[in-house]
């Protein structure tokens, strides 16, 4: 029983450590900072 609790604690700690590393070191990317919708004009349609 004690061994099971120890293993669970170890797994949770390891998961937390990995998550923290991703959180601190990883980047989710930056969304486009320019651009967007623009109207298609007559010039585009000629």
């Amino acid at each position: 029983m004690l061994q099971l609790a120890r293993r669970v604690m170890f797994a949770l700690s390891l998961a937390g450590l990995i998550a923290a590393l991703f959180r601190l070191r990883g980047t989710g990317g930056v969304p486009p900072q320019s651009g967007g919708w623009r109207e298609v004009t007559d010039i585009d349609l000629t």
């Binding site: 486009p32 320019s34 651009g35 967007g36 919708w37």
Partner: protein, 336 residues
């Protein structure tokens, strides 16, 4: 130039109004509801030009159907028989139906249309219709089209809202690597960004007809999909009857088409969109398709608007009538 317009719901009445702003000399209106017929007749006569004759028909007989063009503007599911009868009577036909089964049946009338030397324009409304024009215009910017994704949001009149409800409930087909795959309606959530101020909406699969119309025109594409915007309540209640009557007009709506392909060796993405009332924009598309058929610009046989040689003239005409297309341009180099 004699045009018969069958079906005067929300979209149908917009088709009638648009046809009065055209060289059509005789417009015959028909609707199964006499009261609705009188209402639209009065409204259309008020804006018609002096050279135009606006009349009504009591029923759709072969004589009535023998016009230059028959525009089927009524609810989806009512277009098959009149389309076939009109082709046999020598008319061009424009249908706004977006029901997948009916679109497939109408496309199957291609041999009849070709033997009659007439055009059968299938899915000439908002989506499909305007969406097909956007796909065609976007595809012209690519050397090779690999992926086509179509998204739509909003509905036209009550009949369109009921069709939206049915569409979400039923399975639809997607084209994937050379074969049709059946996908469950309401699955495949995808967040689509429509032109502002419409913004982002969750979109889902359904019994949508766009892939059926686009695949014959883009046989080399690996993937052709379509999704429609829906809320959690729409998905939850899609298996039930409609719990309350739909709105008179379910607009505004929007379309987004996303094409991936190649220009030379480079992989490119082209995104086009529209934000408008589906009934207004769809009615305008149908009216312009009818005028193109009258002038002999519509290809003989049965096809959607993506099958036309070029979308630019129709998009330019739509722009003149107030339907504005937008292109999305983002720079991927900004990604960290």
């Amino acid at each position: 130039m004699r045009v018969v317009l069958a079906g005067l719901g929300t979209t149908g009445s917009h088709i009638a109004r648009q046809l009065t702003q055209s060289p059509v000399t005789e417009l015959v209106l028909w609707d199964p509801k006499p009261r609705r017929l009188d209402q639209v007749l009065g409204a259309v006569r008020a804006v018609a030009s002096a050279h135009q004759t606006i009349t009504t028909a009591k029923e759709l007989t072969p004589a009535t159907l023998g016009a230059d063009v028959l525009v089927l503007g009524g609810p989806a599911g009512t277009h098959r028989e009149p389309a076939a009868a009109a082709l046999r009577a020598g008319s061009h036909v424009v249908s706004i139906s977006d029901e997948a089964d009916e679109v497939a049946d109408l496309l199957a009338l291609g041999s009849l249309a070709r033997s009659a030397d007439r055009a059968l324009v299938v899915g000439a409304g908002f989506c499909p219709g305007l969406s097909c024009l956007l796909v065609s215009h976007a595809a012209a910017q690519l050397d090779r089209v690999d992926v086509i994704n179509v998204y739509r949001a909003g509905t036209g009149g009550p009949a369109c809202a009921r069709q939206h409800h049915r569409t979400l409930k039923h399975s639809g087909q997607e084209w994937l690597e050379g074969t049709w795959i059946v996908r469950r309606g309401g699955s495949g959530r995808d967040l689509a960004w429509f032109p502002e101020p419409f913004g982002a909406r969750d979109c889902y699969r359904g019994a949508l007809s766009s892939p059926l119309l686009l695949q014959p025109q883009f046989p080399g594409a690996h993937r052709i999909t379509a999704r429609m915007a829906a809320t959690r309540r729409d998905r939850f209640t899609s298996r039930l009857p409609m719990l309350r009557p739909p709105h008179t007009d379910g607009g505004p709506g929007a379309i987004r088409v996303e094409l991936r392909g190649r220009v030379g060796q480079a992989v490119e993405t082209v995104i086009l969109g529209v934000m408008d009332h589906p009934s207004v924009a769809g009615g305008t598309v149908a009216a312009l398709a009818a005028l193109a058929a009258l002038e002999g610009r519509a290809p003989v046989g049965a096809s959607g608007l993506a099958g036309w040689p070029t979308a630019r003239p129709l998009l330019a005409d739509l722009r003149q009538r107030g339907v504005r297309v937008a292109a999305f341009g983002g720079r991927l180099t900004d990604l960290a």
